[in-house]
Point group: C2
Chain length 465, copies 2
C-alpha cells in the first residue's frame, strides 16, 4: 500500500515520466512502482488484453460464489501464483478481491469489528514504525466500530474490561523492510496480515504464510498500481462474508477490466516460473561462486531448455534433452561471472527474463548502489537484513525492500527537511510513529529518478563533511 | 446505483445469463443493466479496448490535475457527452472519478461533513421512497461525521441548535422514477444530486442540471456496471479536494483500465450523437404520425447523411449534401411506420443504431408491455409519468424508468411476498421507506428474464380474480 497527499497530487513530478531536469524536485514519497515498467514493455503483446464493448457488463462475475464479484480467472491465477511462489497458503481459503489492498484493509477492519452489540470502537494497533497510512485509513470516517490506537509495542488499553483489539502485522514492513510477527499477543486479539511486500524480489520467501486474513496487492507484486487490484486470503467464512459485504456497500464490487488484466498478467508469472526454471540446477546452490556469477549462470543455463535456445539450435534437437554436467555449470558460472552487465543485457535483449528474477536483480542492484553511497556518507545509516534461505529461488539472499528506511546519525536532525532541501520529496519518520531522524525513500522509481536520488544523496554528504 | 444483498450473492440466478427454466426464481431485485448488452455486441470491434502489459502502471493519471487519478481521456469524454446530451452543465466543474457512484456518494458525505470542529454527526436525509441503499451506505461504519436521518419530508431535527443537514436528491428517483427537487429547503442544508438515471432512455431531458454536486454512473448510462465507474461534477474546489481525499484514503484512485474503457465507450456516444442525427429533420417533431413511425423514419433518414449511405451511394456523391424535403420525410415516415419490427431490424442489421435511440425504444417497448399486463391485472398499479419535451430528442416523451414501482391496490397485501411466491425476486417497499404494498422491479434485465417476468405477473392476476 502507498500514500498520496494533497501536496503530491498538486503538481508533484509525475513518477512515471519524470523529468530528469537537475533543478526539479524528485518524488520519492510514494512507492509508485514504475521501475518494473521496462520489463512489461519488453513482454510486448504477450500480456496484451483485448476487451470488446459487450464483455463483462454485468455487476456479477460469479453469482454462485460467496465473492460474487470475483472473476474466476483471477481467482485461479492468484491460487496458482501462491502455489508457485510458496509465499502463502491459498487452498481452502476464501479469496476476496478489492480495489487495491487499501480497500481490503478497511473491509477487514469492518469484518472484525461490526457486531450489533458493539458499544465502543475496537482498538487498532501496529508495531512502530508502522505504515504511515494506517492511522488515517482507520480514523478518517471517525467510525464507531474501530479506532486507531497507535504503536502495538505500547498498547495496554483495557477499557471497561474489554480486551479486544486488532493488530495489523505488516511483513515485510513498510517502511523498514523488517520481517514482523504479532507483538501484543493477548487473548481477544484479532490479526490482519498485510503481506503486500512478501514477494521474492523484496525478501527471501522463507515459508508459506498461513494466517487468518492475509492481504496482497497487484501493485507491489508486478508493479501494476494503476489497476487498483488487491486480494485477501481469508480462513473464516463469516469474516469473508463481512468483507464482501463491506465491498458491496463501499463500491458494489471491483472493476472487471482490472481483474481480467490482473488474471492474465499474474497467470503469465506462474506459466513462466522461476521454480521450474531452477529445477534442473540444484548444484549451483552450494558452489563457492559469487552470487552475481550464480545468477548470471543460472539465467544463461536456463535458456538451455527454453524456446530461444530451441530456435538457436533448431538443427540440433539432441541438445534439448541433455543433462548439463556439474563441471560445465561451474565453468559457465565462472566465465559468465566475468561478463560485464552490458554484454549480458545485449545477450538477453531478445527474450524477457522471468519477472521475479528480473525484479530481484534490479532491486539488488539498486540496494547495492544505495549502500555504496550511504557507506561513503558519514551522516546516514541503512538497516541491515539477515541472509536467509529463499524457498523460491533456492538460494540464500538478503531483503531488498521497496523502501529505504534511512536514519540520520545525528539525533537532532530533521532528516525529511534535510533531504527535502536537496530537492527530494520523501516521507519523514514521524508519520510512521518513529523519530524525525528517519525518512522513508521509495526504491521503486524509474531509473532516471533513482539515479538523480543517488546523485543528490551523495551531495548531502558533501555538505556535512 | 443498485444494491446487492447476501441472499442475492449466494446463488441467485445470474442476470447476465439467466436460465429461462420456468421453475427457477428470476432475479429482478438488482438493476443489473444487461438489456443493453445486445447493442454493444452489435457494435463489434468499434469500442474494443486493447491494453498492453506496460500501459497505465503508475498510480498517477494526471499529476498536474487536482484529481490526479482521473484519466484525461475520460474527463474529455464526460464533458463532451454532457454537452451533447444537455443533461448537466459540466464546464467549469471539477470532475471527480469514483469506483461507481456508490463510492462517490460516500466521498460527498465525507466532503460535506469532515471538519475538525464537528462534534455531532450531520443528518443525512432523502425524500421517501428513497434509494434503499442510502441508509446502509451512510451508516455501515457508524461514522461520527454523518448519520442517516430518514425521510426528508418528516425531517425536523435541530439538535443543539445545529440545523445543518445533507439532503440527497435522487432524480429521476430510484425506485419510483419521479423527478425530484430538494424538499427540506432550510438554511444550513447541503445537497447531493444523484442523477444516475438522468439520461434520455429513462426520462425526457428537460434542462441541463446545474447543482453543487452531481453524481453520474457509467452503469446506468451505457449498461457497463462491471466497470465500476462513476463521476461527480463538483462546483466548489474545496469540496472536490475533500472528495478526492476520500478516494485516496478509500482506494488510492480508480481502476485505469475501467477509466480508459469508459472513455472510449462514452466517447463513441458523443461521436455518433442523436442530436446531430436529428439536426436535419426538425419537421418530424410536429407531424401527426405515430411515435413509432417517427422513430423508424428518423432512423432510416439518419442514414442519408452517414457512412453506410455513402458506401451505398459511392457513385453518387451529389446525394450527400442534399436537403431532404418535408414531403419526402413525411412520406418516408408513413411508409416506414408500416414496416414490421422484424423487417426493420433486418434492414438495420448491418449498422448499430444510436445508443440512446436504441435504449429509449427498448425501454419504451418494455414499459408498454408491462402497462398492458398491469392494465389487465386488477390488483396492481403503476405510476403515470407526464409527457414532457425532451431537449435531446426534440420530442414530447414520457419517462421509462429503470425500475417499475408496482403498488398493490389492496392495503394489507405484502406485495414482495406475493410476487416472490411467483418466483420473482423483487425489493419490497419498506426498504425504500415506503409501505409494504409497494415493490421495486428491475426493467433492465435480459430479454428472457423480462419475458418471464411479464408471464409470471400475468399469472398473479389469475390468482386473485
Amino acid at each position: 500500500m502507498v500514500v498520496f497527499n494533497q501536496k503530491a497530487s498538486n503538481g508533484c513530478t509525475k513518477s512515471s515520466s519524470p523529468s530528469t531536469n537537475i533543478s526539479k524536485t524528485i518524488n520519492l514519497d510514494q512507492g509508485d512502482p514504475t521501475l518494473f515498467e521496462p520489463y512489461w514493455r519488453k513482454m510486448g503483446d504477450k500480456c496484451t488484453m483485448v476487451i470488446s464493448a459487450s464483455d463483462s457488463m454485468s455487476y456479477f462475475s460469479d453469482a454462485g460464489n460467496l465473492c460474487w464479484f470475483l472473476e474466476p480467472k483471477l481467482s485461479d491465477s492468484i491460487k496458482n501464483l501462491h502455489r508457485e511462489i510458496g509465499n502463502a497458503k491459498s487452498n481452502s481459503r476464501h479469496i476476496v478481491v478489492g480495489t487495491g489492498s487499501t480497500q481490503l484493509y478497511q473491509a477487514a477492519l469492518y469484518a472484525l469489528s461490526s457486531s450489533p452489540d458493539r458499544t465502543h470502537p475496537i482498538s487498532v494497533v501496529s508495531a512502530a514504525p508502522y505504515y504511515s497510512q494506517y492511522p488515517e485509513e482507520t480514523d478518517y470516517l471517525r467510525s464507531g466500530l474501530y479506532k486507531w490506537a497507535g504503536d502495538a509495542y505500547t498498547f495496554d488499553k483495557e477499557e471497561d474490561g474489554n480486551t479486544n483489539y486488532i493488530e495489523v502485522v505488516n511483513s515485510p514492513s513498510n517502511p523498514d523492510g523488517s520481517i514482523r510477527e504479532a507483538v501484543v499477543k493477548r487473548t481477544g486479539g484479532k490479526l490482519i496480515h498485510d503481506l503486500a511486500y512478501y514477494w521474492p524480489q523484496y525478501t527471501p520467501i522463507t515459508c508459506p504464510a498461513d494466517h487468518d486474513i492475509m492481504l496482497f496487492t497487484f501493485s507491489k507484486c508486478t508493479g501494476h498500481a494503476g489497476s487498483r487490484i488487491g486480494w485477501a486470503l481469508v480462513k473464516d467464512t463469516e469474516v469473508a462474508k463481512k468483507m464482501i459485504k463491506f465491498i458491496e456497500l463501499n463500491s458494489i464490487g471491483v472493476s472487471k477490466e482490472s481483474q481480467l488484466r490482473a488474471a492474465m498478467i499474474l497467470g503469465t508469472l506462474s506459466d513462466n516460473s522461476y521454480r521450474n526454471f531452477n529445477s534442473n540446477k540444484p548444484e549451483l546452490n552450494s558452489i563457492g561462486v559469487s552470487k552475481e556469477s550464480q545468477l548470471r549462470a543460472e539465467m544463461i543455463l536456463g535458456k538451455l531448455s527454453d524456446n530461444s535456445y530451441q530456435n538457436l539450435n533448431s538443427n540440433k534437437p539432441e541438445l534439448n534433452s541433455m543433462c548439463v554436467s556439474k563441471e560445465s555449470q561451474l565453468r559457465a558460472a565462472m566465465i559468465l561471472g566475468k561478463l560485464s552487465d552490458n554484454s549480458y543485457q545485449n545477450l538477453n535483449s531478445n527474450k524477457p527474463d522471468n519477472f521475479f528474477e528480473y525484479s530481484q536483480c534490479l532491486l539488488a542492484e539498486r540496494w547495492k548502489k544505495l549502500r555504496e553511497v550511504v557507506k561513503r556518507n558519514q551522516l546516514l545509516i541503512l538497516p541491515d537484513y539477515p541472509l536467509e534461505y529463499c524457498n523460491f529461488t533456492g538460494k540464500f539472499t538478503q531483503s531488498h525492500p521497496a523502501f529505504a528506511w534511512l536514519q540520520c546519525k545525528e539525533e537532532d536532525v530533521d532528516c525529511e527537511k534535510l533531504i527535502k532541501a536537496h530537492k527530494m520529496m520523501v516521507r519523514g519518520g514521524v508519520r510512521f510513529g518513529a523519530e524525525k531522524k528517519y525518512v522513508r525513500v521509495s526504491m521503486l522509481s524509474s531509473e532516471g529518478v533513482f539515479n538523480l536520488f543517488l546523485q543528490r544523496l551523495s551531495a548531502i554528504k558533501g555538505n556535512f563533511n
